[in-house]
């Protein structure tokens, strides 16, 4: 770009007072001596005058009453809400209604499937072996027919044993004792025990 062209592009800034120094002096000299430069400056002066004339055609107050009406109107804009309200509103918005309905339908299907595919726990209980948890008996005892409950209880406490099955025929009971041999001794010493026998333990099931 030659110097004249560079200065010509600075002419608008010069005319608006934004050029100083050497450039300003050169432009001023060219405007004094060069007819083409004078034409360019006159053209920009015409633009400025035309825009000023356009502004003159408009009254200062044009639109001011409309502005005041707008200010006096209550603000119809939606008030700012907190983030969680906006989040909720966006989820409940009509645009998301189909997604919300699809989610609810999915939950219903899932619950139905869980209801009808529940494992049959009752069958599992019925098929469990009956001797599970039954304590093993290691004594057999026959109480006298007139023995009271309190007497039986006292005899069992002394023998450190408990009834695990009975009564069987002839007032017989199966007992479990921590020490069967010692328990037999204690039981035979009791007045309400007719007979007592240590049971031999069988093979494990």
């Amino acid at each position: 770009m030659d110097e004249q062209q560079r200065l010509l592009e600075r002419l608008p800034d010069y005319l608006n007072g934004h050029v100083e120094g050497d450039d300003a002096r050169h432009i001023a000299a060219l405007l004094e001596s060069d007819a083409a430069w004078k034409t360019q400056a006159a053209l920009l002066g015409d633009v400025r005058a035309a825009i000023a004339a356009q502004m003159e055609e408009v009254d200062d107050d044009t639109g001011l009453s409309e502005l005041k009406r707008r200010i006096a109107r209550p603000d119809t804009a939606v008030p700012r809400s907190s983030w969680w309200q906006r989040l909720g509103a966006s989820f409940l918005g009509p645009a998301l209604a189909p997604a919300l309905m699809a989610t609810l339908a999915g939950v219903c299907v899932m619950q139905g499937w869980m209801l009808y595919s529940r494992p049959d726990t009752e069958i599992a209980w019925r098929s469990a072996p009956l001797d599970v948890g039954t304590p093993a008996a290691n004594l057999e005892v026959r109480f006298s027919a007139d023995a009271s409950l309190a007497q039986v209880e006292a005899a069992l406490i002394r023998a450190e044993s408990r009834i695990v099955a009975g009564p069987q025929g002839g007032q017989r009971y199966l007992l479990q004792a921590r020490d069967p041999a010692a328990a037999v001794v204690q039981l035979r010493a009791s007045a309400v025990v007719v007979e007592s026998t240590v049971l031999v333990a069988g093979p494990p099931p």
Partner: protein
């Protein structure tokens, strides 16, 4: 204190305190520039430029009233105000879905001639006044006929408020070199249009 003696920043501060007189003063000082600039951007868009420029002007000052402290003083007030105006105008043009009309200045002789003729008939005497008014009209019409809307916008901004190329570049969001080019080619096109206008005028009266 008179509102007329206050700077835009002081008026905005008063508006922040709810003073509507400050808004009135600001509006009277600046609304014409806002309106003329918006109008310059809207011509040849196929829209009602006068009506929409009026709406934009009210809208700009309504925004200022609602949030006067948006202006933070980092640039000159005029630069900031005209940038706001430009953004609103561009939004309006987009909203209406219009493009710049593809009118060809050289295929528009009938309108060109008609407007010149109308003005010659209605211009007042004396002769000098009429010639000045004719020249203003010719420049305004030729500005509107510039095919490149950014050249028209650059020239309008330059004439509105003694803006520098740097300020215009800031408003247009363009490099300074681009603005210089727009101003230069805008002048050339304007000169060409004016020569054509006055040749027709000379033929009419000669």
């Amino acid at each position: 204190m008179s509102m007329q003696s206050l700077s835009p920043s002081e008026l905005l501060a008063a508006m922040a305190g709810g003073d509507q007189r400050a808004l009135d003063a600001l509006y009277r000082d600046w609304s014409r520039k806002v309106r003329v600039f918006a109008h310059a951007k809207l011509v040849r868009c196929g829209l009602d430029a006068d009506a929409i420029a009026g709406e934009i002007t009210v809208d700009v000052f309504h925004d200022l009233w609602r949030d006067p402290l948006r202006y933070d003083g980092r640039v000159e007030f005029v630069t900031w105000l005209l940038t706001l105006t430009r953004n609103k105008t561009v939004d309006q043009i987009r909203r209406h879905g219009k493009r710049q009309a593809a009118e060809d200045m050289f295929n528009d002789d009938s309108t060109f001639e008609l407007e010149a003729g109308m003005h010659a008939e209605t211009a007042p005497d004396p002769l000098a006044l009429r010639e000045t008014a004719q020249r203003h009209t010719a420049v305004q019409r030729c500005l509107q006929r510039l095919r490149n809307p950014l050249q028209r916008e650059s020239l309008t901004l330059w004439a509105l408020e003694d803006l520098s190329v740097r300020d215009i570049a800031r408003i247009q969001g363009a490099p300074e070199g681009t603005v210089k080019t727009r101003l230069f080619h805008g002048r050339l096109n304007l000169k060409s249009c004016l020569e054509r206008w006055f040749v027709q005028e000379g033929g009419r009266h000669g």
